[in-house]
Homo-oligomer: 461 residues x 2
């Protein structure tokens, strides 16, 4: 992987572009647009997070994978990010006795990377501010978008001054609760859905061991799968882990039933016994940190003529269980960049092709994310499922041209998500036909299994 900023040629400026949202995708998008020679005005609702922010490594973590890296390389910032990323080579499952099982994510050398959202956002804001064509404005709350007049009603949250800002071309990258999308939602024939899981999540911390060391395996994404709920942990640079408990809002084991510090400690001691001793702040964090909800947002169209385009979570927020939310948003930038190269200043065409190309793939990714939730919280604790994963990786090794596991297609390739999902479903059907003949790993070599497999493979292109 090498950074290739030179691949973007500078072209004539064709008027101002307005980017709403200075999160990860908003920053990356602004960089791409500026590298195409456009003047970009970037509005961000929050204050500049590079001021007084939370301590590095305490904010929520993200898993960067190939699609994300590719998008970062496109503007030449991948190497800088890699310096603060921690490779996770596989899933480390923790059972209720503290027993561990490791399952690699892909082939040797293939990893996903734990990065701090805040750290990455700060780094990208630095780059954005250094970019000549971009002006960043913080503390700018978008109160309303007037699509007919092409005007924004902006509130400066520091001065409490309101002003009207006209726009020529508006990019809505203002996240799952997008103000830009709100305006589109009120237009005729705009399809929209927001769908919540009956689960919330809570962020907690595994402390660093003595000397800033990692108390559990550093280079893994840790999972405590428990059927109806689970906890995960991603490593931070300072030796701590950022844990996330995904937990039902109601029911026998749920946020509703854990009401006192004693109940929380008893529960963790029972179901996450190896983690509890590493979480000295548990009782405080559990009640002080917010319980956040998990939403999938779908909408269409993403473009309003050649005036407005939604990207990232504003267009397609997904639940976090495949680690693809940020990666999908970054890939939006890669795709848009390709269209900018192809169609220059023909914004109408660029917007239309973008939404047509991208929508089936982000819909597939939304389905995949919900599917992986079931897999992570439930199926990864099932010995038959783990056996199936082992068999699948043998198939992939034996037929490398014909079989890439679904997880690898999503995580370690740039195959469109919809194709990955269709392939994955076809592969799952083959596994369902094969697994009744397999009771243990060695059965894979049995002639009848090999013959069955050869038949299945003969049908695959």
């Amino acid at each position: 992987m090498t950074d290739t900023p030179s691949s973007i040629s500078s072209v004539e400026n064709t008027g101002n572009l307005t980017v709403m949202g200075g999160g990860l995708v908003g920053c990356l998008l602004s960089l791409y647009l500026a590298r195409h020679g456009h003047q970009v005005e970037l509005f961000e609702r929050r204050p500049d997070i590079r001021g007084a922010g939370p301590v590095e490594g305490r904010s929520i973590n993200l898993a960067l994978s190939d699609r994300g890296w590719r998008a970062l390389e496109g503007v030449g910032i991948a190497e800088a990010v890699r310096e603060v990323a921690i490779a996770m080579h596989g899933r480390m499952m923790h059972d209720t006795q503290g027993g561990l099982t490791f399952q690699p994510y892909g082939q040797a050398g293939q990893s996903i990377y734990s990065v701090s959202r805040a750290g990455l956002n700060r780094r990208m804001l630095d780059l954005v501010e250094q970019e000549p064509g971009i002006t960043v404005r913080f503390n700018q709350q978008c109160r309303r978008v007037d699509l007919k007049r092409q005007e924004l009603e902006m509130l400066d949250t520091e001065t409490q001054q309101e002003r009207v800002v006209p726009y020529q071309r508006l990019f809505g990258v203002d996240g799952a609760y997008s103000a830009v999308r709100s305006a589109l939602q009120r237009t005729d024939r705009f399809n929209y859905s927001q769908e919540y899981l009956n689960y919330g999540y809570k962020e907690l911390t595994i402390e660093a061991a003595a000397g800033g060391q990692w108390a559990i395996e550093r280079n893994a994404l840790h999972i405590w799968p428990r059927g109806q709920y689970m906890m995960i942990a991603l490593p931070n640079l300072d030796g701590s882990f950022n844990c996330t408990l995904f937990f039902p809002y109601e029911g026998p084991d749920s946020f509703a039933t854990l009401q006192t510090p004693a109940q929380v400690t008893e529960f963790f001691g029972r179901v996450f016994p190896d983690a509890l001793p590493l979480m000295p702040q548990l009782e405080t964090e559990f009640f002080e940190n917010p319980t956040a909800s998990l939403v999938t947002i779908r909408c269409f169209p993403w473009a309003e003529q050649d005036h407005v385009l939604l990207l990232g979570d504003a267009a397609h927020a997904i639940v976090p269980f495949y680690g693809q939310g940020m990666n999908a948003g970054f890939e939006d930038c890669t795709i848009l960049n390709e269209l900018l190269h192809q169609h220059g200043h023909d914004w109408g065409r660029i917007f239309q092709e973008f939404e047509a190309l991208r929508k089936p793939n982000t819909d597939a990714m939304a389905d995949l994310a919900v599917y992986n939730f079931q897999e992570m919280r439930d199926r990864v604790a099932d010995p038959r499922f783990l056996l199936q994963k082992k068999i699948e990786s043998k198939i992939s090794a034996q037929y490398p041209e014909k079989w890439l596991p679904l997880y690898s297609q999503v995580t370690f390739s740039s195959l469109p998500y919809a194709e990955a999902w269709a392939n994955g479903q076809a592969q799952e059907r083959i596994m369902q036909r094969l697994m009744p003949h397999i009771q243990q790993e060695e059965d894979y070599q049995r002639p009848e299994v090999q013959q069955l497999l050869a038949q299945e493979m003969a049908h695959r292109s």
Copy 2:
């Protein structure tokens, strides 16, 4: 059917209730609430439609069926409405040569009723204003609902005065584009979707014949099914018919391709040849009347604590193809009325039971409405489908305890929609097994068919 206003007992007033929306469901709901002894303040965005409105019979028509009648009876207004309703005993299909096929909706005496939306709304506003407990306020636009403070920001559209109105209990019956629901949509864990068909509709008119007579069969709902599109017509009291063209927005035959009066006339002459001569205003109406979109809206929860409840289209807008939109909204009032009887002033419980009881049924109705669109525009023109309908009505006659056609369950019963839909799907599966043995109506009597049928019926309770 008799009106039974006496079945509602007057109970002590427990504070003001606020009803947002003075459409059909808002009026009916207000009547029910007032009959329970509550003080009701009803806000309506539009001016009083009883002033200068469109001429009776020219506005959009609705099909009242059993669920709607039952709800009207509950407040004693069914007989008054019946006087201005026209019975439609079945579907009259018009083929491309003008040939007619009639298909009864149910058993003899079972009909649905064409009523004018505006006429019905006016009649109900009269009743609402006569009701001592209800205050109606017109020209009141709800700008914002503050759920935390329990306050409405209302704009008087005549005086342009804004004022803040506190509420104790707010009923959002303000339709598919509900302002009350907009506020709920911004709360955490509120599931919501708005989904448009790729079809729009346009209202047109078949003129009355000489002497105010009906130019085509008065007591039928007329359908011109044409595969990818259709026109329907409902009778008015003045001899005219209100037609609705359901038509794709884009494609070979679509709103996009009919751009000139000549194109419209040529198209209607070719595909609706018997209707064209009866539509002298076609060219004007086609370009002056709006093209309206078709949306399905689903959301949940409908209640916010014991403060806010959504009903009618605000909670569950559906496409119009089963003629159940108004009927479903009216049935909401029937169900709420039952809960008011059961639980008195326990609003929290009333709201919670209401949404739990009602949501699966309105979801089923939304599915049924889309399903019936496919049936009406496409399948009713298929001879095999018409044969299946005839066979089904024979089965229903032979096994009246075991088989009520789906349409009758929806239209002529008060069976919960979800049960009707499940029954209908089970019945369709039986028909799929039976029809391969039937080539013509007489085959129904063949011993093998009767034996097969007897076997199927043995499995049904």
